[in-house]
Amino acid sequence: MKNPILRTALTLLLICGVCAGLVAAVYHVTLPVTTAREAEAEKALVLSVYPEAASLQAKELEAKGNVEKLTAYLDGEGKLCGFVGIVCGAGFGGDIRLVIAVTPEGKILGAGVQEHSETPGVGSRAVGGDFIASLTGASLPVGENGVDSVSGATISSRAVMAAADELLSLIREEGKA
């Protein structure tokens, strides 16, 4: 290979091609496992928030704005039993992704946190068990119905409540449509 440019280009070309091939193969093998695991993790989260969902059919609804996913659950005869929404709130340290189960009338059946990056020990108290548990049973919008924020973690608690309220407004729209 007298021409150095050709030799250099060919070497880098071969290396990139082989590497890409290797990674693509690994991706191809791991893809089914990853998607299966993620779907299962999400189903587990939904069940932890809305146990009855296991026996109902899920109907995917159109999600807007901060609400990333909204599924309605109908029983055998097609009667609407409840909704489960995954909604994102802008917390102190970053996004807080919540999973909330709501009855058609707007009462929260259960709530859980999928992912947050609040400051450990400060913001995380608002995203911890007790405050989220206090949401259960309250009806939306939570601001007026007796759910008070965690002292010292106001931004995070307000983010959680705002996210819940936004889910409600989307559900009300769905309800009318």
Binding site: P4, T8, L12, L14, A20, G21, A24
Partner: protein, 261 residues
């Protein structure tokens, strides 16, 4: 399945594009470098210690190529590298005996103190207070400026006086500059016996100040078979070129300040 095909295809394209681009740029922007320069730079010890008086190995190499310096300017280069550079530059082969640092004092705790020094652990600051806390004017204060200056951890302050680990010394001279009292000199590595005192005081003062100070009694000078030891201005010195390391001077010295390294 087809994403694997696309992945390989696209990366072949990207790899080829960048590969040829870089190769083309390398040719177009090729800076006319003297190919000897790469070779000489590769032979450098790479310590950038400054012992040769230049800002680092690469500038010393450039000076070599411009002929402004000679290969024996660098002490910490091993001999084969120096020979190859001499051949590359067409100079006669130079032999440079490797020099190592040597502390011209062995007082430390055995040297009495004028006052109790509780200041900052720095020889230069201590020396500014009436020449340091030792009775002996140019005694080692043992606060370790040289130890800190040495990149290769070749110097350690033990029992209050700095001592050199010969095999670790890269003869870069950093310690020589660091010692405020100029107690550190470079002696040939092969030296076996060396004087560890640099006090030019009168015998009476030396006796009062330090247990191992040289009082200039000239016993070593008389006993040395080949005149390598001379006492000048109250302190003995060994001329390493004449010294055959017979060791007679060390035995003869009543103070024990001629030491076997």
């Amino acid at each position: 399945m087809e994403h694997i095909f696309y992945a390989v295809l696209w990366f072949l394209v990207l790899g080829g594009l960048f590969g040829s681009g870089l190769a083309f740029l390398a040719k177009k922007f090729a800076v006319k470098t003297d190919e000897r320069e790469e070779r000489v730079k590769a032979l450098m010890p790479g310590a950038n210690c400054g012992g040769c008086g230049f800002a680092g190995c690469s500038s010393f190499a450039e000076a070599l190529l411009r002929g402004e310096a000679t290969p024996d300017g660098c002490g910490s280069m091993d001999t084969e590298a120096r020979d190859e550079i001499c051949d590359l530059l067409g100079l006669p082969r130079m032999t440079v005996e490797k020099k190592v640092a040597h502390v011209m004092c062995s007082g430390g705790c055995r040297a009495k103190e004028k006052y109790l020094y509780e200041g900052i652990r720095d020889c230069r600051i201590a020396a500014s207070l009436a020449g340091g806390n030792k009775l002996c004017h140019n005694g080692c204060t043992g606060l370790g400026n040289c130890e800190r200056a040495c990149e290769y951890h070749a110097l350690h302050v033990i029992d209050g006086v700095a001592q050199v680990e010969k095999d670790k010394c890269h003869s870069c001279g950093a310690c020589v500059k660091a010692c405020p009292k100029g107690l550190i000199v470079m002696i040939p590595e092969k030296a076996v016996y060396a004087v560890q005192c640099s006090s030019h005081e009168k015998p009476k003062d030396v006796m009062r100040a330090c247990e191992v100070g040289c009082i200039g009694c000239k016993k070593c000078e008389k006993v040395c078979p080949n005149g390598a030891v001379t006492v000048t201005d109250g302190v003995a010195e060994i001329d390493q070129t004449k010294c055959t390391s017979c060791g007679l001077c060390a035995e003869a010295c009543p103070r024990g300040c001629i030491v076997k390294l």
